[in-house]
């Protein structure tokens, strides 16, 4: 930790951390002045319309752009052939596992062959978007169809069509985790239980789709790129590599972002298209994604087929877990897409003290769009898998599902705990968290009610999901070993103006999380200042020197910690200046309620004092500073998390199923989450609400679908059902607080937890309701049609 001179004692006037401070972001969004990427208009701006493949797998045999070029308002029509490798190379990703034989080249537009419906093949640049759209219809592309595979488990079969010719199989990698001999443990176990689960493809579907605006300046050979992204510096680096431009000639600016949820982390083909086109045309070029382009081109998440085997003794103690996962990567590797299934495997043992694991994860190419980071990114898949399996094991063993969990939980005295897949959990108390959820919902009383209702023929059930996840990407050296090409550390610069106002730079990029407020809470508290004297800057590579962005619920634990360290350094320097002026040892200087004075000589006793603002002025004048001290007040704070944090929680759902329609209604929903300390409880609650809504969406409604021929079937909000207000239950949320020992703030992360709890809780509730009806298994989403069909099948 920072070894400066913190002064004798500090009493901070303002303590904002832990309070529900109102968001300073709200006014602009409430008044329609939020300034999203599409709101930016540049002089001479051109508009791009992308021509896309209607085929999931085909060879391009010819492209005729002449009609499109002749259309009104068209400035240029480009295909891949118009750009050299130097102008626009393959799209760079952030995570290639060392066991992968590289990744298939993915260019901004397909070169010879298309691999999924929606892959860009040409672009029309015109004076207006409407004219670009008109002309895009006139681009004539000839295709020769090729065989198609869309399902990951089918794609690994020997006779499956090959998605990429350069490989001999569609399996990009098989990632193994765990040690020991599962078969040996299983041979000695009283019970060996197996289940197959599908964690279906879902889609973040932020309400703002993607928008990219590139502005190349020939006079300086520089590029300004406006993009709603969760990580400006990662985009800048990747663009520099793709476009062969010096990194410092690229500025990436992210204005307000209309939701990200993991889908706005990577560089997409259209980003490269507008940059390359702007460089060629020397005019700004903008592309605005339609919702149907969003569903076919923007990465989705999940899409795992999982075989889970548990080996348990007669008491229900689980001794080993074996999992084989077929993870659908899509047609290419996008961003962090390849790594997500592999880290998912590290969480397969969940909250349970399971001695051995044997995990094999198959990353598989198919003729579908790419999968990637989506809220939870690997942990929802893991939690669903272990929580579904343990419920079914309980049924098989005839042991109460709550009791079975108690017998297997990792105990509080076991932390830090390394699970059988190599992941270390920092702190936790899973049983206390579960008990709180059970108490909140009135579990035993609900069980009695359910028994009574069932006698009346009602189809009701209750389910629980207890999860642990990991946040705050950590252990840099380990990450590098597994091919993760991003930083785990964050830096923050806290700079004070001559008049004592504070600006905090952070390398995270909010998409609604409220960082401008929460980071200001941390820094204002550390400096003892009014929060209105602290401004937070993010989302611009010109004003923030570096950052790795907002993902993995790391913003508070990583950037918040860095900001706190930087602010403390500023306070320490201010204390040294004050000590110099007060002619005292810095160890005798007290910083109390925003005022520096000498210990034992408080202002009330007529002692000499300096306010923070006065110290700022003196620091900037620079004429009366301790010998050798540089003028001004500006400090860099770095935080590199030594380990991941492990948030956890217990969610309970009470459901009823309509026997006539199969519709599932959630009667009660209780979520008890533990994210460690909370910077702003109201923002935490908001994150839980939103996450649970997306988790309920996955459980009941959402599924991104391709038919067997590779045609997408869910290309609008008419087909892809995100929950609406009337489909959401009242969320009853609460917390336990187990501070993380990993960072000084004691925070774990809350951005994704909400999306992790609902699928197991709801699936277990639905199966609890359906089991008495004779239904053995249903996969998500529990749509009326699927549930109704299961009821009919069981009744036969």
């Amino acid at each position: 930790m920072t070894a400066l001179h913190p002064g004798a004692e500090t009493t901070l006037r303002h303590q904002y951390v832990g309070r529900s401070v109102k968001r300073r972001e709200d006014r602009r969004f409430l008044t329609g002045t939020g300034r999203f990427t599409e709101d930016i208009v540049l002089t001479g701006m051109l508009h791009a319309a992308v021509v896309r493949s209607p085929f999931p797998h085909a060879t391009i045999t010819g492209i005729d752009t002449s009609h499109a070029l002749a259309a009104p308002g068209v400035v240029a029509v480009y295909t891949a052939a118009d750009f050299s490798e130097e102008e626009a190379g393959p799209i760079v990703t952030d995570w290639v596992l060392p066991i992968m034989d590289g990744i298939p080249d993915r260019y901004m537009m397909a070169r010879d062959r298309v691999h999924y419906v929606g892959e860009p093949v040409a672009v029309v640049i015109a004076e207006t978007r409407a004219l670009a759209d008109d002309a895009a219809l006139l681009v004539d592309v000839d295709y020769e169809g090729l065989p198609v595979v869309v399902d990951a488990e089918q794609a690994v079969q020997d006779d499956a069509p090959l998605v990429h010719d350069r490989y001999l199989q569609n399996t990009s990698y098989v990632w193994h985790l765990g040690t020991g001999d599962f078969d040996e443990v299983a041979a000695g176990a009283e019970h060996v239980f197996q289940i197959r689960l599908i964690n279906q493809r879902v889609h973040a579907s932020s309400l703002e789709a993607r928008v990219s605006l590139a502005d190349y300046s020939p006079g300086t050979d520089s590029l300004t790129f406006y993009l709603g992204t969760q990580n400006v510096h990662v985009v800048r680096r990747n663009l520099a590599l793709i476009l062969n431009m010096p990194e410092h000639h690229i500025r990436v600016v992210t204005p307000a972002v209309g939701g990200g949820f993991g889908s706005k982390l990577c560089v997409y083909p259209e980003d490269v298209i507008v940059c390359a086109a702007s460089r060629r045309l020397r005019r700004p070029v903008r592309w605005v994604e339609t919702r149907s382009e969003h569903f076919t081109g923007t990465s989705g998440g999940r899409d795992h087929i999982e075989y889970v085997t548990l080996a348990a003794d007669a008491t229900g103690k689980i001794h080993a877990i074996r999992v084989t996962t077929y993870a659908n990567l899509g047609a290419y590797v996008s961003g962090m897409g390849a790594g997500i299934p592999s880290v998912s495997g590290m969480m397969f043992p969940g909250c349970y003290d399971i001695g051995m694991a044997d995990v094999n994860i198959h990353g598989v190419f198919t003729n579908t769009s790419t999968t990637e980071t989506y809220r939870g990114a690997g942990r929802p898949e893991a939690a669903y898998l272990i929580e579904r399996a343990i419920d079914e094991l309980a049924v098989e063993l005839g042991i109460d599902r709550i009791e079975l969990r108690r017998r297997n939980f990792i105990r509080p005295d076991q932390f830090p705990y390394e699970n059988a897949c190599g992941m270390t959990y920092d702190s936790g108390d899973y049983e206390a968290c579960m008990d709180k959820a059970l108490q909140l919902v009135g579990w035993d009383e609900r069980l009695r009610e359910i028994a009574e209702l069932r006698t009346q023929g009602r189809i009701v059930g209750i389910g629980i999901g207890v999860y642990v996840e990991f946040c705050g990407f950590a252990e840099g050296p380990l990450l590098e070993l597994i091919g993760f090409d991003r930083n785990s550390w964050e830096q923050s610069v806290v700079s004070v103006s001559r008049l004592g106002k504070v600006t905090v730079q952070v390398g995270i990029d909010a998409a609604g999380q409220g960082h401008e407020t929460s980071i200001a809470q941390i820094v204002a508290s550390e400096l003892g200042l009014d929060i209105d004297d602290v401004e937070v800057t993010q989302g611009d590579t010109d004003t923030v020197h570096f950052g790795t962005g907002t993902f993995n619920s790391r913003s508070m634990s990583s950037a918040g910690s860095a900001a706190k360290i930087a602010a403390r350094k500023v306070r320490c320097k201010a204390t040294e200046i004050a000590a110099h002026l007060l002619e005292a040892d810095s160890g005798d200087v007290v910083f109390e309620d925003g005022i520096f004075h000498v210990r034992g000589v408080p202002p009330a006793a007529g002692g000499l004092t300096y306010t923070f603002e006065e110290i700022s002025r003196i620091a900037f004048r620079g004429n009366d500073l301790p010998a050798g001290m540089e003028p001004s007040l500006k400090e860099l704070g770095t935080f590199d998390p030594p380990k991941f944090t492990a948030p956890f929680g217990a969610h309970v759902a009470l459901v009823e199923i309509d026997p006539d329609t199969g519709e599932v209604s959630i009667l009660r929903y209780v979520a008890v989450d533990d994210c460690g300390n909370m910077i702003n409880p109201q923002l935490v609650a908001g994150q839980v609400h939103g996450g649970v809504a997306q988790g309920i969406g996955q459980s009941l409604y959402e599924n991104l679908i391709w038919d067997d021929e590779g045609q997408p079937a869910t290309t609008s909000f008419m087909h892809y059902a995100v929950p609406k207000a009337h489909q959401m239950p009242v969320l009853e949320i609460d917390h336990t607080i187990t501070p993380s020992p990993i960072n000084e703030l004691g925070v774990k992360g809350i951005g994704e937890s909400g999306a992790i709890g609902p699928p197991p809780a709801i699936a277990n509730a639905v199966m609890d309701a359906l089991r008495p009806m004779g239904v053995r298994h249903v996969d998500m989403p529990f749509t009326p049609a699927k549930v109704w069909a299961a009821l009919q099948d069981a009744a036969r």
Binding site: F29, G32, G34, V41, G258, H689, K724
Partner: protein, 177 residues
């Protein structure tokens, strides 16, 4: 008001003729507007690009999400599904026009949304506010279920709706008191 469509030319690409333009006059946020718009221009694009009122957003293109909601003659309408030429003679209000007093002031619905943390990324918010204002103007008491059903035309992907519902229910309760 007659909506005419531009004649298509017989040229192979079908787009040689410039699209027809139509003159319209209407009131926008209380002020008279005269404009000449392409016959096919959507109201949302006219508002965002010609009138530079970018608070109205496009979220889905297919009138599911309500991010583009504005009020036309008092009724909430999805401006992605209305042609600009259709508002000739109408009274249009966008999020920029809901302020009752002036700059610095917020509409009670905006205040309540802020108080309840009823917005996160803010992209759906203008449409939500427009929908909430119309709901509340009905004057009938709104319980959570009425509010939830009243918001089926608006998608929010961030908040799970809970705080939005709470904000509107509170305003309705206060109005009844």
């Amino acid at each position: 008001m007659t909506i005419r469509y531009a004649e298509r030319s017989a040229a192979p690409n079908g787009h040689d003729e410039p699209a027809e333009r139509i003159s319209i006059e209407y009131r926008l946020n209380g002020r008279p507007v005269s404009a000449c718009v392409e016959s096919r221009r959507l109201l949302v694009h006219h508002l965002r690009e010609d009138q530079v009122l970018t608070g109205t957003h496009v979220g889905c293109d297919t009138s599911q999400c309500g991010a583009c909601a504005v009020r036309i003659d008092g009724r909430v309408a999805k401006s992605c599904s209305v042609l600009a030429c259709q508002v000739d003679g109408a009274d249009v209000t966008t999020i920029e026009g809901v302020l009752p007093v002036g700059p610095g002031e917020l509409h009670p619905v905006q205040e309540a949304f802020g108080r309840h943390h009823a917005l996160q990324c803010g992209f759906c918010t203008p449409g939500m506010v427009m929908a909430a204002i119309e709901l509340l103007e009905s004057g009938r008491p709104l319980g959570p279920q009425e509010v939830r059903h009243g918001l089926t035309g608006n998608i929010c992907r961030c908040t799970g709706y809970q705080n939005i519902v709470d904000a509107i229910v509170e305003l309705s309760r206060d109005a009844q008191a």
